[in-house]
Symmetry: C2
Subunit: 359 residues, 2 copies
């Protein structure tokens, strides 16, 4: 018998789906990108829209901890994770299907909270809830969400179109969700210890770190970036959302696009709260940015010729450029040292610490 | 706090989704049928195909028991359950997304078996696996499958189109899966008792009951019925697949179509093995047909004028007819007694016996 950890999550998916043939000419892109791409139009149809679809499963104890995750936030986040995958195709989310499994002690009011969060996400992103399933669970909660969206065929952006010399861009900032999670986990341990000691419970104090808590509990899918790119007349050559850490996502882009890359450490956008908290934890903030998960920012590439246009988009940062594949994937530190990028990412399939990024 | 059992599964879905607006004109049908219906065509498009989509979540210990369910069968069945929902729209399944969560002791070979079953289902029904998710679970296995299909707009069949006097038809036979499950559960108890007594383990003997075991472990989505209807030039007025028992599904058809119904007990198709096993268990076989789950047969209505055409279709049985709504829903026994239909169905949300039909 073979341990799943020997394959890793992406290796496992490749392994399991390797024998599946694609029967339909309408299936333009199957497993292996942020979304599948489907063509439900007939030849001669002047409308060149494509359908994209993606699905994610969130398990209690693996992806979320109900001791510090309000159900409303959980519903919102579960939707955002899927919307983010659709935006990563340069597409627009349209419909959502939501399946929930829950334990015996769950009450209607708990599910109301969860769906209230999903509703807010649907409203903000103009997405229709069109189906789903509810069932009981013998153990923890499980949430499975599928999102369907569409894009003009000539704007659709996969992981596979980047070229040598393309600029590598990232939205927002990285590593914040990682430290948000560390803070919540630390407070959980403090609280558990107080329980044992029968002391008066102190409320956790996240003053000055609110942004980090918000990034882990209430991430935002970057619809604004997709809109800004469109307004600027830019179609990225490749794009992916950052759910497993910059390093892992860069490896996906380079693998699918057959390129190498060079990124510059001092160019990686880091929020002040992230930097301060990294110092408090005695950690290298760039390790968190490269390998921490759940930032849900967009990572994309544009041709060098679009440099002047892309730098005008607010909250988009140039962090490096693509290279020929034989040059490999490298991080350049401020002192000029080069390190090969390792894609550890969030390994939800690891046997030891399923919820911790391997920093 | 409100117990979920006070709402029931369908009441819960209605409750949770009541505030969700539909934003897009392309969302033709949302929550509440076997599938959602989407229109991804522009006005003036001569192609009148519609997209349908459905999702199901299967939880270990609720929907399946790995002590007697081979993983290959489980994968096959998980796919079939979704394909069945697409056929119930008179549509053709095209793409599948599969998410799996699994415990620490799961090995690659286990998942290979599961996916081998999914692959057989995909091949038989010409469906493309286009996406999914894999993750670990702290507890049991969870499987979430989403299926996308299409149908000509003028052939699409919801639950809502039946009229007074329409004939009620059912494919195959009912109650077999229920007794298949009872047999497996009985053997599981025998085996557990032998474990305790340290006796030599006897192999379960299902001789003469193979069909019942097959119906619960390896159900078949009725693509053949949808094809036969099309070949006969019949578009049902309403259709649903029988996953929760005939009684529950009839109530859905009548509620959505604003009709009543009269069905005749002796017309309900029962296999010989089902009847023999019902007698062995000392149970009324029609109770199992009405309230047992997982038959995955199709229940549909056709106009009275199509009587002569529908009776020529192999394996389709007329069991009654629709009535005006004020006449209610009734089962007529051979001696002429009338009973109001109760839709217990499989209540996966019940607090006592989540996996047992309430007979």
């Amino acid at each position: 018998m073979t341990d799943i950890s020997t394959l890793g999550e992406f290796g496992l998916i490749d392994h399991l789906t390797r024998d599946f043939p694609l029967h339909h000419k309408e299936t333009l892109l199957g497993v292996g990108d942020d979304c599948a791409v489907l063509d439900y139009h007939t030849q001669g149809d002047s409308d060149k829209r494509r359908i994209v679809t993606t699905t994610d499963m969130l398990m209690e104890g693996i992806h979320f901890d109900l001791t510090y995750t309000p159900l409303k936030h959980l519903g919102y986040k579960a939707a955002m994770v899927n919307l983010s995958d659709v935006y990563a195709m340069n597409a627009t989310p349209r419909q959502l299907l939501v399946s929930i499994a829950f334990g015996r002690r769950t009450k209607v009011e708990h599910l109301d909270e969860l769906y209230a969060g999903i509703l807010i996400a649907c409203r903000q992103h103009h997405v229709d809830l069109v189906g789903g399933d509810t069932t009981s669970s013998l153990t923890g909660m499980a949430i499975s969400i599928t999102c369907i969206g569409d894009a003009d065929a000539d704007k659709l952006t996969t992981r596979a179109g980047a070229h040598d010399t393309d600029l590598i861009c990232v939205s927002g900032n990285l590593g914040a969700a990682y430290f948000g999670l560390q803070l919540l986990e630390r407070e959980k341990k403090v609280w558990a210890a107080q329980q044992g000691a029968d002391e008066t419970h102190s409320q956790p104090d996240f003053a000055g770190k609110e942004y980090l808590i918000e990034r882990i509990l209430k991430p935002e899918a970057r619809r604004d970036i997709v809109s800004a790119l469109q307004a600027a007349g830019i179609v990225p050559t490749a794009m992916i959302d950052i759910s497993d850490g910059l390093s892992s996502e860069l490896m996906h882009l380079c693998k699918h696009s057959h390129t190498g890359c060079r990124i510059y450490e001092e160019r990686i956008p880091i929020d002040y709260q992230t930097a301060a908290t990294a110092e408090e934890f005695g950690m290298n903030v760039y390790t968190a940015a490269l390998n921490g998960g759940e930032d849900y920012e967009l990572l994309f590439t544009v041709p060098l010729t679009l440099h002047d246009r892309v730098v005008t988009i607010p909250d988009v940062h140039l962090i490096g450029h693509m290279t020929a594949p034989e040059q490999g994937l490298h991080l350049i530190t401020p002192d000029g040292n080069e390190f090969a990028l390792k894609a550890q990412g969030w390994n939800h399939l690891a046997t030891e610490q399923p919820d911790s990024p391997t920093a």
